[in-house]
Every structure is written in C-alpha cells, then in structure tokens.
Subunit: 146 residues, 2 copies
DNA sequence: GGCCTAAATGCAATATTGTTGCATTTAGGC
DNA sequence: GCCTAAATGCAACAATATTGCATTTAGGCC
C-alpha cells in the first residue's frame, strides 16, 4: 500500500511495526509532533515504543525525506512534497499549531542567489512563517496559544 | 557607550552586570551561543552567572530585539539589524558555524504575500540558509563540522 | 551620602529532551 | 525453519530548560 514500505524497501531498510506506527502518527495530524508526543499518542492506543526507538525512526525519516523537523516548535511533520531538495517552506499557525509545507521555486532560487551575493554558497534552506491560519484569523479575539 | 544601557533604560529595565556580560559575550563572537556556552565563556573569565539568570537575560534580549535565537543550532546571536519587525534572515556556515543576519524587504514582502495566498496571515518570519561561507568554501576538502 | 522597594539574581529542585552502550528481538534472505 | 544483520528495548546518563522561593542589588528618594 504504501508510501512508507516502498521507500524503506527501495533503500534497503526493513519494514517494521514501529516504523509504520510512527509514520501513521505523523500522517494522522496536521500539527508537528515531538518524539515524546508521538510516544504518548501511541500509548493512548495501548502501543508502547521506547523513546530511543522513536528518535531513531524520526532520524531515519528525516534522512529519507519522509519527515521534516519544524524548528519553531521542534516537532516533526510528514513531508508531502517529495523532491524539494533541501528547500523547506513552512507556514505555522501560532494559535492552533497547524503546519503546512509549501514549495516555491522562485523564492527558493532568490534565497540562494541572495546568499551567493554575500559570498555564501547555499546548500539547503529553511523558511518558517508564523501567523494565523484562515480559521484562527476569523476568531482571533479568543486567546492565542503558541 | 551603550546600545545596551540605552535600550534597557529606555524600556524601564535596570542596567546590571550580568546583562552587560551576556551582551558582551554575544558581541564578541560571530557564532551563535547557547545559554550554557555563554556560561562557560564567562567562567573562563572567572565570572560566574547562574544558568537561570542567563536564560532570563536571553529571553529579555529576545523580547527587546537585542538578540535572536538561531533555530538550526539553538544558539543566540546579537541582532545587528534593529527594526526588522519580525523578519529575520540568517545565513549559517555548516562548517565553521558562523552566522550572518541579513535583511531583504523584497523577499520579506514576497514571503508574506505568498502566505496570504494560502489564506494565512503572516506575522513574523524566520529564514535560515545553510551552506558554506566564502572562507570554508575555499578549503572545502577538509572535513565538515556542523 | 544612606534608605527603601521593586526588580534582578542565585539557588535548589525538578522537568523535559536527547544520547550512548549493550542486550535482546525480529525482518527478510536463504 | 534457520541464520544474521538490522532494528528495537532498556538502563543509565547527559544536556537543556523551568519553577518557586530566598537573597541581593539598581536606582529613585530623602
């Protein structure tokens, strides 16, 4: 079925229960999840994974481009835009915490050439925009959270 | 003399030894410093600050726009571009760890309008480009560090 | 100059997050 | 079913961050 099993096998990694569970957890949410949050989530479903295992799985997912770490709140999100080649652009709602990843070749190119102007050879790029999503902007009188 | 004392007084904060020391530490380096790195640095000069104090000072500096946290390596740098209004653009060398902050109104504007296209009301923006600075690019055969 | 008070710092205890080394289990090829 | 490298578990620890409260100090006042 899946994305995950295919990617793992294609790169010579084993398809295991824990890996599938972490992947499912990431897929089931629009908010970034920290390793320990993933552990808690799974525990609610009566499934226990050692936190070390989760760290190692997330590390693998990052290397495989299956997940990315959002730095502003140090959680992981599933990558929906394969092949972005080290250019990751997130929009993060500071109220509900939801995250979306976007791609924009134009901005990416500009960012790199801009760096080069300063004698800097860009390899990868991370962009995080904080604000309010449409939903939270609508009811923005309520107190903010993040 | 100072930037720091002026800003503190202008906003009703006291000018203290610890604040001056942390500020000086940030000023004396081109690499981002974590709270504990700052503590170690000061200790080498036989000056001890409790880490809680350093955390609180860095927090204050962030709120006052005197320092920014670089997320890629979770260290703080002194802000050299006052009035950027929540738009921070860093270039980080993954070899020597040096960081430079830049401003580009154009990119900043694009980023925001781009977010708006997705129904997202941007408030602040963070951009971190990883790569090699001119110096490290020159001798890039040597092993990389960060 | 000394006095006073709110602000700043120190300190201890604790919580959270991340890492390492090694024992045990398991996926997947035979 | 067996075998082995890979994956996971586990325990111990290291690093980072937070909280509440006691103590000290900057700066306004006389």
């Amino acid at each position: 079925m899946g994305n995950l099993a295919d990617v793992l096998r294609a790169r010579g990694y084993k398809v295991t229960g824990p890996r599938q569970q972490v992947f499912d957890a990431l897929e089931g949410t629009e908010k970034p999840l920290s390793p320990y949050e993933i552990q808690n989530l799974l525990q609610e479903e009566d499934s226990f994974l050692n936190h070390v295992t989760i760290y190692r799985i997330l590390d693998l997912f990052s290397r495989l481009g299956l997940a990315h770490r959002v730095l502003s709140n140090s959680g992981f999100v599933k990558c929906n835009l394969p092949g972005q080649e080290g250019c990751h652009r997130f929009v993060i709602c500071r109220c509900c915490g939801s995250v979306q990843e976007f791609a924009d070749k134009e901005l990416c190119r500009k960012e790199k050439s801009f760096a080069l102007d300063c004698g800097f050879h860009a390899e990868s790029h991370l962009s995080e925009t904080l604000g309010l999503c449409a939903k939270c902007y609508g009811r923005r009188d309520e107190k903010t959270t993040i």
